[in-house]
């Protein structure tokens, strides 16, 4: 079953911060984060391989808590270009399937 993301949707003003969560009922091997613009394919943002490790990309960072089977994506000082749908992608331990979370739609307003 797909990891569950929260919130499902969020609207921000430019400069505001947001957190997107990706939670799983199964042990996660690794977590990737993607952003998809309307009408386009998803694009890779970052990878998290170890529990508790944080990675950064511009003003976007993420964490991965193996114990809680959860990853969070942090967007700080949001820009208009951050608008899109965010997905976590993961492979459960012991399987070759690569699946995506339920998605979070984010819209940044001027």
């Amino acid at each position: 079953q797909q990891p569950v993301q929260s919130p499902q949707a969020v609207i921000l003003r430019e400069g505001e911060d947001a957190v997107i969560n990706c939670s799983s009922s199964k042990a996660l091997y690794s977590v990737h984060w993607y952003r998809q613009k309307h009408g386009e394919a998803p694009v890779f943002l970052m990878i998290l391989l170890k529990g508790g490790e944080q990675k950064g990309h511009e003003k976007i960072s993420a964490s991965f808590n193996e114990k809680k089977q959860q990853s969070s994506l942090y967007l700080t000082a949001s820009q208009l270009s951050y608008s899109g749908t965010y997905f976590c992608g993961t492979r459960y331990s012991g399987t070759y399937k690569y699946i995506f979370g339920t998605g979070t739609r984010l819209k940044v307003l001027a």
Partner: protein
């Protein structure tokens, strides 16, 4: 070809017809995947292949089949299309199991 390419980009198909969606990558990636994306349901895995010659079922495999005769190509076949298969289909590839996925531009399929 640069990256991963899907064809066609869009198609209107009569119900009951057979259709093959093509996916080709030139990155020599081992793993390839097919997803469908429906509004409100995100990306759902249809079939996957870890390496040439092997395939596996994803979360929503019914009505679809795949083959992986070589590293570069991973076609998806709808044997007898039904309206519920109307969706946007994405092909993706990964170098290894732990690396990120690269996506094709998608195929918008409408079954009428």
């Amino acid at each position: 070809i640069a990256g991963i390419t899907q064809a066609p980009t869009s198609q209107i198909l009569a119900a009951g017809r057979r259709m093959t969606l093509r996916c080709t990558q030139d990155m020599r990636h081992n793993a390839m995947y097919w997803y469908r994306q429906d509004l409100g349901l995100g990306l759902r895995l249809i079939h996957y292949s870890n390496t040439a010659g092997t395939t596996g079922k994803g979360e929503v495999p019914d009505g679809y089949s795949v083959s992986r005769a070589n590293t570069d190509d991973f076609p998806l076949t709808l044997a007898s299309a039904v309206p519920s298969q109307t969706s946007v289909y994405f092909c993706a590839s990964k170098r290894h199991l732990s690396t990120e996925a690269f996506f094709g531009q998608g195929t918008r399929l409408t079954v009428v």
